[in-house]
Amino acid sequence: MADDVVVCRGVTRTYQDDAVPVLALQGVDFTVTKGEFVSLAGPSGSGKSTLLNVIGGLDRPDAGGIHVDGVHLNELSESELSDLRLSKMGFVFQAYNLIPVLSASENVEFILQLQGLPAAERAERAQAALDALGVGELAHRRPGELSGGQQQRVAVARAIVTEPVLLLADEPSANLDSNTTEELLALLRSLNETRGVTILAATHDPMVMSFAKRRVQLRDGMIAEDSARVAVA
């Protein structure tokens, strides 16, 4: 369907851990439609990160197909995957992964620089993204001069500044206290509601799940429960 942002069909990923195969994903069928806010829950080791990574083109499945915004990932080269991530996806990592030698605004701006946008437009959009996340006044500080919550906001600003089709977040609350987590989630929800950003967040934090409109439960590399479906076969 045209509105499907993510389509996974029979996605399988096996890791070779000390010659013992680990079935991280075992034939996942999964679809995310435009404008959804999905939480991907499940115990540690259930395959949440692996699923996010194959959807994000950071990892390749052993079997099965993945389409993101209509593009079949299996057929893309490394460089093409890079370009796709740059143009269509936003990432929020567990560790904020800001570049220490760049200021907050530069940390947001460089993505637009990679996209080749002109300087004036870059500066304007970066500032707007930081403002939207409530850290506009901290634009000139470097990550070392920001608190954990502030850094995560800058990281979210970096993820949304390109207006991605899909925002992928892996344990976005892992390093935040509950107040900051709540603020961040409120923010993600408003991005989802006001801008229609499609969000897929892997988490085992109940608070994150409570903010998502749709909850998907993974177990042993398989989808065990999906609130969008009445029943799972």
């Binding site: 460089s79 890079s82 370009d83 996806m89 990432f91 220490p100 760049l102 530069e106």
Partner: protein, 404 residues
């Protein structure tokens, strides 16, 4: 490729580890300055060698009768038209001289020695050492001067001096010996004892009269500078004197020519040694810099930076620090050379030095071409040194990096 971003990242990352990169930078500066200084000293040495060889009555090219080198006698001579002059543009020609140079026996009241008796036109000898050496007494005044000048060492050996008389015996054009007396006009002090012992000069017309023939045994041509365009003058001389031999200074002074090449090789080897040590440090520092940024580089790849841009970032970092180091290194080397100024006095080792045909003052010579070459090659090596670290950087899988 987002070059501006990459430049920004490279610059700032260099500043992130000031101490480490400052140490690397000083190593580059010392190495480059060392190369520049030694280079200029070797060039000075080369220049002196060549200058000594060329002014040793050689010139950049010389016309001789066939067989003269094996048997330098008046029989191996040729005639030269009075109005002849070499076919070389004025701005390239430093000068030329025709001479008779034949073996002779020289006698004072006390001693006898074998020498090279050389008839010259003193006005033309600005191209040889004779034009620049200091004389006690007087230098020869003209081509018709009937007196002789001899070297200081020879004067000592013969136990004679300015104003005294000497007898010279040499073979005339008819094969019979000629003997004549000469008054010593002056005693010259050349840079090598060998020259002083070998060459006795008189006016060329006087020597032509002595051997009874209006001939010369050599025409020597000196070009401006260090003799660029030497092969074309050789060709044009060969075309004019088609029945004579034309030799360049390398052929006439093979030892000096070999030393010249040796100095070239020494410069190159010294450069490679310095660069080798430098590259080792550079590669190490770059690998450290890549390894401590694994997460950052992984993130950049994850959000969509292409592999090529990651390579470029490391290459730029290396090339940048190298470029700064090269500029500073050349500056330091240049200042050091300025400080050396008039040159290094080698007179302490003067004997060995004079034997090698050099002056006792080693003057450094800095050539633009050499600097450009040093700078270019250094940057190239900086680039080469970055390839392995860049490969390590691009091999980083974003996932592995982010999981840490």
């Amino acid at each position: 490729m987002p070059l501006k971003l990459l430049t920004q990242l490279s610059c700032r990352n260099l500043f992130r580890h000031k101490r480490r990169n400052l140490m690397l930078l000083s190593a580059i500066v010392v190495a480059v300055a060392g190369v520049v200084v030694l280079n200029s000293l070797l060039r000075g040495f080369q220049y002196d060698m060549q200058e000594a060889a060329v002014s040793n009555l050689t010139g950049h090219a010389k016309v001789l009768a066939p067989g003269y080198l094996d048997d330098p006698s008046i029989e191996k001579s040729f005639q030269l038209a009075k109005d002849w002059r070499p076919d070389v543009a004025d701005d390239q020609l430093e000068g030329w001289a025709a001479r008779i140079r034949i073996p002779a026996v020289i006698m004072s009241e006390r001693e006898t020695r074998g020498v090279q008796f050389v008839g010259v036109d003193p006005q033309r000898e600005s191209i040889s050492f004779l034009g620049s050496v200091a004389h006690r007494g007087e230098a020869l005044q003209s081509a018709a001067d009937r007196r002789v000048v001899i070297g200081e060492s020879l004067a000592e050996q013969l136990d004679t001096d300015v104003g005294r008389r000497l007898v010279l015996i040499t073979q005339g054009a008819d094969g019979l010996n000629r003997e004549a007396g000469f008054r010593i006009a002056g005693v010259y002090d050349a840079d090598g004892e060998n020259l002083e012992k070998i060459f006795v000069f008189t006016g060329i017309e006087r020597l032509q009269a002595l051997v009874d023939a209006e001939v010369v045994t050599e025409v020597s041509v000196k070009l401006v500078g260090n003799g660029a365009g030497e092969s074309s003058i050789k060709d044009s001389l060969a075309a004019f004197f088609d029945d004579l031999d034309v030799l360049d200074w390398q052929e006439l002074e093979p030892q000096a020519a070999a030393m010249f090449l040796f100095a070239d090789a020494a410069m190159f080897i010294w450069f490679l040694i310095m660069m080798g040590a430098l590259i080792f440090g550079l590669v190490n520092t770059l690998i450290t810099a890549v390894m401590e940024r694994i997460k950052e580089l992984g993130m950049l790849r994850a959000v969509g930076m292409r592999p090529g841009a990651v390579v470029m970032q490391v290459v730029m970092e290396s090339t940048l620090i190298m470029a700064v180091g090269v500029v500073l290194g050349i500056l330091v080397g240049w200042l050091f050379i300025l400080w050396l100024g008039e040159g290094i006095d080698l007179s302490r080792w003067a004997e060995g030095v004079e034997m090698a045909g050099m002056r006792s003052l080693l003057v450094p010579r800095l050539f633009m071409n050499d600097l450009v070459l040093v700078a270019g090659l250094s940057l190239f090596f900086g680039f080469v040194a970055s390839l392995y670290p860049a490969w390590r950087a691009v091999k980083i899988k974003p996932l592995d990096a982010l999981r840490r």
